[in-house]
Amino acid sequence: MSQATLEDDEIPSYPGAFAPERMRRVNAYGLDIAVYEWGDVSAPPVMMAHGGFDFARTLEVFAPLIAAGGWRVISWDQRGHGDSEHAALYSWDADVRDALAVFDSVTYDPVPVMGHSKGGSLMLVLAEACPHRVSRLVNIDGLPAGARSPDIADRERIRLMADTLTNWLDHRRDAAGATRKPGTIDELAERRGRMNPRLSKEWLRHLVTVGARRDFDGWRWKIDPALRFGGFGPWRPEWTLDRLMAVRVPMIGMLGMIPEDMGWGTKPDDLRPYMPAGSELFVFEDSGHFIHIEKPDEVSKIVLDFLGTP
């Protein structure tokens, strides 16, 4: 254990971070989904979907800024993430369905919807599948690049895919007994820092205290150990881009231009031809993928301007 390690009872606070004002559970077709709210319960609702391997409480700075603008911000932990139930099965469609169960718990009227990264793409699907439930759309670095991967020889590509598949199947064979590795707050923050290299140590420590649980042998991230990065599947970026063109509600998109592993590497010029008429794209040259965490004041101002008077 390093000298700089925080003791368990030294729970760090983070300036500007506010815990959700309300927490509740929603039953999504038998699966227990954790829901969080910031802002006055009687204020007009705005929904926010987090990205993959994140959780709703990563919004503890951004969501209160939107709530301060007069909105009731509702977010939820996607299945297997945060305090939501670990599922036997995970899929894009199931995530969209779970989201709609949360929407149903708030209102059946159309609502403004925000999403970051994977959450942004999920909300695009929801906006096309259920256009009557979405009044405005905010996508924060969750729009894919249309360009294909750089050319690599066919045999090499096959080998890379074979390695990915073998690793995935080996992981599945061991998933039943898998647990997350325990550690101190600092150790978990350091691990997450590999995914979020641009975010401050103080923020990452804060995330541990709201996204991990304290067991007898240390802290553990709550996310289902069966989930893992990367993967494979038949999904194509152009399918999402086609969805984008189908959007018929006011929409803004944001792109963080500093490349990082969790980002999607989307270039504005690749995206602009697909943006729906009347939409606007905000490009942050000096931000990575987590724009709403790196620049919460700037992003919340853009969002509040876009949402208009509550």
Binding site: A28, Y29, G30, L31, R79, E85, H86, A87, A88, L89, Y90, S91, D93, A94, V96, R97, D98, L100, V125, E128, A129, C130, D154, R155, R157, I158, R159, M161, A162, L165, T166, W168, L169, R172, R173, A175, A176, A226, F232, G233, P234, W235, R236, W239, R243
Partner: protein, 216 residues
Amino acid sequence: MTEYLVHNKVRLALHLLESGGETQPLLILHALGLRAPAGIEAPLDAWRGPVYALDFTGHGESTIPKGGGYTAEVLMGDADAALGAIGPATVLGYGLGAYVALLLCGARPRDVMGAILCDGPGLTGGGPAPGSPFLPAVNPNAVVPPDPWALAELARDIRPEDYATNFLRQATQFSELEHPVTVCAGSRPPWLEAVACEPGVKCGSLSEALDEYGQA
């Protein structure tokens, strides 16, 4: 005899339909909405090794999980759990099971000693590209298999031609067999038509395929 395997949070039923020890096992993967057969009939009765049949997640005696989330890829994980239990095997898939057999053959090319793709429900899936998205509604009170989420989700599972042929090419690149895949299905949805046209794929009858792989 039925053995229960664990794949993540799901208990899978793997049925031994026939014992025998002269060649590698035959693993049967059922079609969408069905379950492992209770026994074997001709021409499977000519197989000289043990014959197993798996119930996929949400089917037969396997667990029905909460809230759906089915993909063909996770069923490949089911089939791989069976392969882990019985060792290298020839895999015979019907309908949805045929697609899963192809995926498994590409992902475990040294352990699948031939994949045989036959007709059955769920062979087409959702086609090569997504249609209009919709959120299916199912009967939340259904308590007997098959899981209605499995029926709803695996009937619209997207199967692009080049995605399927990538698995096939992995099989041909890494398998020791000259023809790691045999197509017996008469129906040819786009993914299967693309696979059937690739080198390393044989088209023929089930009897011929069993005979070839049984000699391997």
